[in-house]
């Protein structure tokens, strides 16, 4: 393992924030469109949008120190309490839950949920990278597990899709893909677990 020192925060934040903004919009749009009638979907959409924007603001303001002047002017005190409350709530988690709730009511097929899961995982990893100012390479040790997880996701989507598919060659292909995904997931996860157990 190579060693070294680097200035944290030297990571280009703006492109990463743009990526997160795009992912946020994509995830919310993917789960919310087409619009559904009812109170719960409306609440979930509003909640997801608010949480997504707040999460973006939270990441943008991460390096800004909280004003500590208790004797400041009213706008200063309001901005200080706004920044404080913005930082206190885990907005990315709120958005994740809201988007999944929206997805429950979505009329589309299981593959739609599968893609949403992939996008959500990417969103959470991007949030972590921006939050810690780390480069994408720090996620390299997790890649095997992520790949295994995506294999299992494909398996689950396949399992959900099987009853919807007509009997025949497509159904057989989906079953083969699901089995292959399960095998690949096992192959990827086992070495990581074994290595982890040895360290313990």
């Amino acid at each position: 393992m190579t060693g070294g020192t680097s200035r944290a925060g030297g990571y280009p934040r703006l492109p990463a924030l743009i990526v997160i903004a795009v992912l946020t919009g994509a995830v919310i749009g993917w789960a919310a469109l087409p619009g559904r009638p009812g109170t719960l979907p409306a609440i979930a959409v509003i909640g997801a949008i608010v949480a997504g924007l707040a999460s973006l603001a939270q990441l943008t303001l991460a390096g800004v120190p909280t004003p500590r002047d208790v004797h400041g002017s009213l706008p200063q005190r309001i901005s200080a309490s706004f920044v404080g409350s913005l930082r206190a709530i885990p907005w990315a988690e709120v958005m994740t839950v809201a988007v999944l709730v929206l997805e429950v009511r979505h009329p589309a097929r299981p593959w739609h949920t599968g893609l949403l899961g992939v996008a959500l995982l990417g969103y959470l990893c991007a949030v972590h990278l921006v939050e810690t100012g780390a480069r994408a390479s720090v996620l390299r040790p997790q890649m095997a597990l992520v790949a295994a997880g995506l294999g299992l996701l494909a398996l689950a989507v396949g399992a959900a899709a099987v009853p919807l598919l007509p009997a025949g060659s497509i159904s057989a292909i989906v079953r083969v893909v699901a089995v292959a995904a399960a095998v690949v997931a096992g192959v990827l996860v086992l070495p990581v677990w074994l290595r982890s157990d040895r360290r313990r």
């Binding site: 190579t2 060693g3 944290a8 313990r200």
Partner: protein, 427 residues
Amino acid sequence: MPDQHGRPRFRQLAVGWGLSAHARRLLTLALAGLVLAVATGRPEFAGVAAPAVLLLATIRRTRPAQLGVRVSLADTQFVEGTESAVIVDVAAPGEFEADIRIEPGDGIAAGSAVRLRPADKPERAAQLAFTPERWGARPLGLVLVTLRDPYRLTEGHVAVALPRVDCRPLPAQLASSVVLSRLPSRLGEHAARAAGDGSEFAGVREFVPGDRQRRINWPATTRTGTLHLSTFAAERTQNTVVIADATADVGEPGSTSLDLVLRGAAGAITRYLAQRDRVGLIIFGSRLTWIGPGQGQRHYHRLIDLLVSSPFGWEPAAALTRLPRAALPSGALIIVFSPLLDPRLVEAVRDLRERGFSVLVIDVLNAEPRPDRSMLSVLAGRMWRLEQEAIRFSLTQIGVPVVHWDGTTSLDEPLASYTRRVMVAHR
């Protein structure tokens, strides 16, 4: 206790471990996916939870309970607005990444955090920059070390308190100096009016028995036909007493009257000590503190330390006349840095002038009351300005020059008319 290289030894500090924000978000995704899968009977939601569950399954239970940390400061003296650094050595297990940053105390601006990537070396060092924003004694804050495991699911936190430091005011620039016409009989570097053994040429006179032959001025001797001698100016030192008026602190933060007083006083002390004058300091604050004139590097540090550590504020201070003679040696040049808001200081300056001291006042008042739009307020503002003008005028009338310094330029600018030639010392 320091080690053999003079650095402090490693301190073993307990590490507080917990889930990282990334792990908490993955946990939320996993739980939400599984709950929805069970509630709706749709396996694809369990699939959404699968990557998060697999990642969370790698959370390790074996983590270092203690972390060796050694913190030292790169400098021993700190000046406002000047960057310094904290050196942090971390003896962390190689596979953990360490983020180190300063949680700054009040009036301290911290630089960016430093990341120590996993290394084979057992000890890893980081330099964290910080800048004291204002003079004074202030706590630097905390050094926060965050350890992250390779999967970035757990975080360990260690906090180390940094010491309280005395931050000195940034000395105002002063390249010239005010020199009095009469200097005490003490060897120094200023050319005096009296003849002596200095190196500055003063004139030519006729030779009288007893004069040194090596000083014969041969051009004048051959021209006149009689022996003539070169004369030189004596080199004397000057006693300078700096009075810092710390009774008022008005104006914009960062350039208040007290800031300018201390910066100006530090600049004058630095300049006069550099030219080997004897410099004393009197602080006119909530109480009078003073150090008599002296020379040398050690004396400089004593003066600057007094400047930083003296009590400031609007409380009754004893009259300057009560100071012992050693603090105000006769014939001394007295430089007063003041916003001239305290009538007691104005009276003290008058008193000093009446006692025969050569006094120079540097007015650092940078602010004035902001009247509202009412007639009475505007009138009061005008009266205040007239009063201030009257105070300055009355001082100039008794032979005390008053110059204004706004803190943005060097001190040479307002003092130019007094540094170009010697200042006549009245009696």
